[in-house]
Amino acid sequence: MKKTFILSVTAHSALRALQRIVCLLTRSRIDVDRLTMAEADAAGVSRLEICLRVEPQIAERTAKQLRRVVEISDVHIQPL
């Protein structure tokens, strides 16, 4: 059963991270309700927040796959 999750990602190169995030989401056919990308801070670190509707195992899998992305330093996923 699909549930809504909030995925928070910290990345040091927002656009390249976003490209890989989108690849992973589309590959697993995950529905995205909303995506926000905040401006990078002084150190060039950006935050992305993505609201997803997905089965819990797929959410867990995707979070782990995102942690492999070199540009991404932190991933949090929480049910809404």
Partner: protein, 552 residues
């Protein structure tokens, strides 16, 4: 860029020139001798040769291509390296920075195209970025679970000069071992009555072969291997239970569903291994040692998930397990081995009559080379014959496109393997379909005078697909029969010695002639046209529903 490769200790690069990579090619010329460049005949060949080179040396393979078509031709090679965890650094030229995004001549967004199939990629638009980005590329390719990275370098950045200072980066530290979990794993193994160890490519990547043997011997647990783990465990060891998966061995597959504890090391429970996941090892407690966090609990839930380097984890685990023997459990494996031998192996490897079978060619080769050659296969029925019947006695000696299953892999990968291990006997085994997918790479074999031995198992069909048509599509052979050229003439045109055999009595002599030849040699063996690979777990079936022969 050439300097950066030299700093990384790269000795060989595989590539193909073109407009957007010409400055780098000029540097290869000017600094000739710093690196050996092998000119592929298609960029896919360059990528797959770099992959084969990495598989035998354990060092990143490097390939180079121009922008546009050169870059897109690398794609299949990169995808294969990604799925099989092969460290590779792919360098593509790109149009100059000012024209990016304008659909300029030979502009393709190769970073976008390869994003899902690279571990990391980066577009360099300023020369000053080169040292740091190259160092990072090699670092990422080698660290943790290895994989391919792609560097796309704009032409103007290649032309510009820079103040070159290079700092190599060591591979990332291994994940910290969780001792409590190791002890918990040991407790499960100590209490187990029907345990199995399953090993994969990760064992070879971390160099944990000795540890696997030591653990298996101390605990008396049988060891099954995935396709890519094959050369990690001695073939003649009494605890060797054979290969897992679709065309693996009967006992280890059937008994997977009776095991109470499974220790999986450096393997990822691919669907070719598990068959129907819902019916896979549901009764077993799984201990999973894996360096890639994303593989833990992905397909199979682990009772104990150990995010660790295989070698480090096994070294610790060995200290905590108690010596044991599982004689009765092992008897079960022998029983199934006996059934498989009678139903399949005997007739495959020593048939009394009829056309030559793929398995007997592999078995004779295995005997003649004493299991010590590097054997590269392409994809199809012959690939399964190699995996099942070559008895690999040395590690990192079985090269196969596992995760991607890319036909055309064999010839270029064996070129890379021979260049990576010039003193070893390298034998390629391929089908008539896959040979023709990268047949142009014979040009490299000829130009470099590589002593590569090539065996073509010619059945006149795309055999593996024909088998599925026979089994699941009522023998409707839709476009799987090939009308083939005279392969001996093709070899001859390249100046490569060649011979064809169709009679069993000539097989042994022909293999000897091939192995003894100084230079390259193509041996075409005409094999049974409509043979099938068994045992088999049909797609959608459970591991314990493995078939020994065609259903009546």
């Amino acid at each position: 860029m050439v300097q950066a490769l030299v700093e990384e200790g790269v000795e060989v690069v595989f590539g193909y020139p073109g407009g957007a990579i010409m400055p780098m090619y000029d540097a290869l010329h000017v600094h000739g001798g710093a690196l050996r460049h092998i000119l592929a005949r298609h960029e896919q060949g360059a990528a797959m040769a770099a992959d084969g080179y990495a598989r035998v040396t354990g060092r990143p393979g490097v390939c180079v291509a121009t922008s546009g078509p050169g870059a897109t031709n690398l794609v299949t090679g990169i995808a294969g390296a990604m799925l099989d965890s092969i460290p590779m650094v792919c360098i593509t030229g790109q149009i100059s920075g000012a024209f990016l995004g304008s659909d300029a001549f030979q502009e393709t967004d190769i970073i976008g195209i390869t994003a899902p199939i690279t571990k990391w990629s980066y577009q360099i638009t300023r020369a000053e970025e080169i040292p740091e980005v190259f160092a990072k590329a090699f670092h990422v390719a080698r660290s943790g679970r290895p994989g391919p990275v792609l560097l796309d370098v704009a032409k103007d950045a290649q032309f510009a000069s820079l103040d070159f200072r290079y700092r190599r980066r060591p591979p990332a530290p291994k994940p910290e071992l969780d001792l409590d979990r190791v002890k918990e794993a040991a407790r499960l193994l100590n209490e187990a009555r029907r345990p199995c160890i399953f090993i994969g490519h990760g064992v070879l990547l971390s160099g944990a072969q000795k540890e696997v043997v030591a653990l298996a011997e101390k605990t008396g647990i049988p060891v099954g291997s995935t396709l890519l783990g094959l050369s990690a465990f001695p073939p003649d060891h009494p605890l060797n239970a054979g290969m897992l998966g679709m065309h693996g061995n009967y006992g280890v597959n059937v008994l997977t569903n009776q095991a109470d504890v499974i220790l999986a090391v450096g393997m990822r429970f691919d669907d070719r291994v598990t068959g129907k996941l819902a019916l896979y090892a549901k009764q077993a407690k799984v201990i999973h040692i894996e360096i890639d966090l994303a593989e833990l609990d992905k397909n199979v839930r682990a009772a104990v998930a150990l995010h660790a380097d295989a070698k480090e984890a096994l070294q610790e685990l060995i200290r905590w397990v108690e010596p044991a023997k599982h004689s009765e459990w092992l008897t079960g494996f022998r029983h199934y081995d006996g059934l498989e031998f009678e139903a399949v192996v005997k007739n495959e490897t020593t048939p009394a009559e009829g056309d030559i079978r793929m398995a007997e060619v592999v078995a004779r080769l295995s005997e003649k080379t004493d299991g010590r050659a590097i054997v590269v296969s392409d994809v199809g029925q012959h690939q399964m014959a190699v995996a099942r019947y070559y008895r690999f006695k040395r590690p990192n000696s079985h090269l196969s496109s596992g995760g991607l299953g890319a036909m055309g892999f064999g010839l270029p990968a064996s070129i890379g393997a021979q260049l990576g291990a010039p003193d070893r006997q390298v034998v390629l085994i391929m089908g008539d379909g896959g040979f023709q997918m990268n047949i142009q790479e014979l040009g490299v074999v000829a130009q470099e005078r590589l002593p590569l031995k090539m065996i073509l198992l010619n059945n006149g069909f795309l055999g593996m697909v024909r088998q599925w048509q026979e089994m699941f599509f009522e023998k409707r052979y839709s476009f799987t029969e090939l009308s083939n050229p005279d392969f001996l003439k093709i070899a001859g045109a390249y100046g490569i010695a060649a011979r064809r055999v169709a009679a069993r009595a000539e097989l042994a002599g022909a293999l000897t002639e091939m192995l003894d030849a100084d230079g390259p040699f193509l041996l075409e063996v005409v094999v049974e046209r409509e043979a099938n690979v068994f045992p088999m777990i049909a797609a959608g079936s459970a591991v314990d529903e493995m078939l020994l022969s065609m259903k009546p």
